[in-house]
Amino acid sequence: MKQLEAIPERPATPLGAQHRVAPRRRAAWRTALTSYSFILPIAVFGVFLLVYPVLYSLALSFRDATVETIVGGDMPFIGFSNYEQSLADPTFWQALQNTVVFTFCSILFQFTIGFLLAIFFQNRFPLKNVLIALLLIPWIIPVLTAANTFKGLFNEVGPINQIAHLLGLPTVPWLASPGFALAATIVANIWIGFPFNFILLYSGVCNIPPEVYEAARIDGAGYWRRVGHITLPILKPVTVAVLMLGTIYTVKVFDLVFIMTGGGPANTSHLLSTYAYQIGFSIYNYGEAAAIAIVIIAVILTLNLFQLFLKRR
């Protein structure tokens, strides 16, 4: 059986060279069946746990979906009301603005730190691989651990304020002050994300042949000139990939802000994701939460199209 089904699958000659039509058709059918058996599990999973939720979110966003209407069994269609309601909420706009600021600042600093580390680790020196492994730790540990770490560091009586006090600087209740709370989460997120930037840029840097630098050095180009004129241009494709992946992952951030500030104080540090979660699971307005989720999807798809556009060029 096994032998029969296997041989016609990858014929050495084009299919047209054979003339036994009926067995061939049966064989083709069998081949297709084998092929589909490989993807059946993921297809079932994808339909029920990925496609369905996205479509259901979309449907929910147009319905009055609260605990009562769900239990009652009829979620009335209410058109764009959920969208209108969230667009009318100043916290939504604050969360959108925070998401943009959070993403931009995180990426800027993560990339800069990652890049500087990458060109530093371009040198060969003892213990290099141990240090690289250690530098991956902030990224590999659960976000919860990192979030608790920075929740402690930025505590009103925590080490940052203790040191500020020692140096005679004013102390700030970071996580309880509007503005500073978001800044603290950004610092934490930079710490979580720099290793990802570092490691991808480092692998890019490793692929640059050393001769390229030799030539520039003979021409008398200084170190930073070589970085600017050789390393950066060669790394452009990696850079684009890193920045886009970083942006997409940063727009998704939830746990960090949820644990560190919970969106507070007074809703000033919400990201779209934590804001949507609060609407969904503190106020139990699933419809409106779904509408915000759809807005996030729209933002991410737009970024994605933008990336495709950049890649084309």
Binding site: I7, T34, F45, R124, F125, I137, P138, I140, Y223, Y286
Partner: protein, 274 residues
């Protein structure tokens, strides 16, 4: 590329160690703090070293977290195993079998990897409450798989693409079926890729909070992250539990990254950049 050329490469090592120490100092604070009394931790004076080591913080945390450790391990192992079971054959099919719609599957997976968890949490919560998968570990595992499966498929496709297809072809000519070729040739050879993906698919649910927080409300079923999240109570934060607990939660990831950094780096850059 050496800017000013130093005589000894150890100069770089020293600079590298300084960078590493600065960047990892937050974790040092957690480690030192986990051995302090809460009073010392948040006293007006900064202490870089515990006055007296309170090892009891760690033993208390271990005792309290132990059952949740087991829950997390069950959830993570199952998620990882099921993820591989679903994605490994699919990755093979994506690359080498002529399956209609594989382009659509791949790009859909790529897109869903980018979507925030909230997109899945709301509908799955509603769906799962109707089929009593809320407050059940299978429900949590299915939820966690919404982010491990797309990730694993993309990573594994990158690994399998680099596999020499002639080996499979030879087996097929010898009369092996596609499944046989997959199981006895491709799987063993792509072992490092499989292990890397398995470990990441373990670590992702291990650190998950949003699904656990939403799907699990009974205290008997709470994974580690949820138990730690609850340490932040209404009346303040129990830091002498939170700090050692956070480090205990980070343990599997740290062990893994230090033990296998080389091949995660290789694997990750490959998967992410393709």
């Amino acid at each position: 590329m050496r800017p000013p050329t130093f005589r000894s490469p150890w100069v770089y090592t020293v600079v590298g160690v300084i960078f590493t120490v600065i960047l990892l100092s937050p974790l040092y604070w957690v480690l030192a703090g986990s051995l302090m009394t809460q009073r010392e931790l948040f006293s007006p004076h900064f202490s870089i070293w515990p006055h007296q080591f309170v090892f009891q913080n760690w033993s208390n945390a271990l005792v309290r977290l132990w059952p949740h450790f087991a829950t997390s391990a069950i959830v993570s192992v199952c998620t990882s195993a099921l993820t591989l079971l679903v994605t490994a054959p699919a990755a093979y099919a994506m690359i080498w079998l002529k399956v209609r719609g594989r382009g659509a599957i791949l790009s859909f997976m790529l897109t869903s990897q980018m979507l925030p968890a909230i997109v899945f949490v709301i509908p799955l919560f509603i769906l799962f409450s109707q089929v009593s998968l809320v407050n059940s570990l299978p429900g949590l595992i299915l939820g966690d798989m919404t982010f491990t499966v797309p990730f694993a498929l993309i990573m594994l496709s990158a690994y399998i693409r680099e596999f020499p297809y002639q080996l499979v072809e030879a087996a097929l000519v010898d009369g092996a079926s596609q499944w046989r070729a997959f199981l006895s040739i491709v799987l063993p050879v792509t072992k490092t890729g499989m292990i890397t993906v398995a470990i990441f698919s373990f670590l992702m649910p291990w650190g998950d909070l949003i699904f656990a927080l939403t799907f699990i409300t009974e205290s008997g079923l709470q994974p580690l992250t949820l138990e730690l999240y609850k340490a932040v109570g209404v009346y303040g934060i129990d830091w002498s539990f939170l700090l050692p607990g956070s480090l205990l939660t980070a343990l599997p990831g740290v062990v893994f990254v230090v033990a296998a950094s080389r091949f995660i780096v290789a694997g990750f850059t490959r998967g992410a950049l393709h």
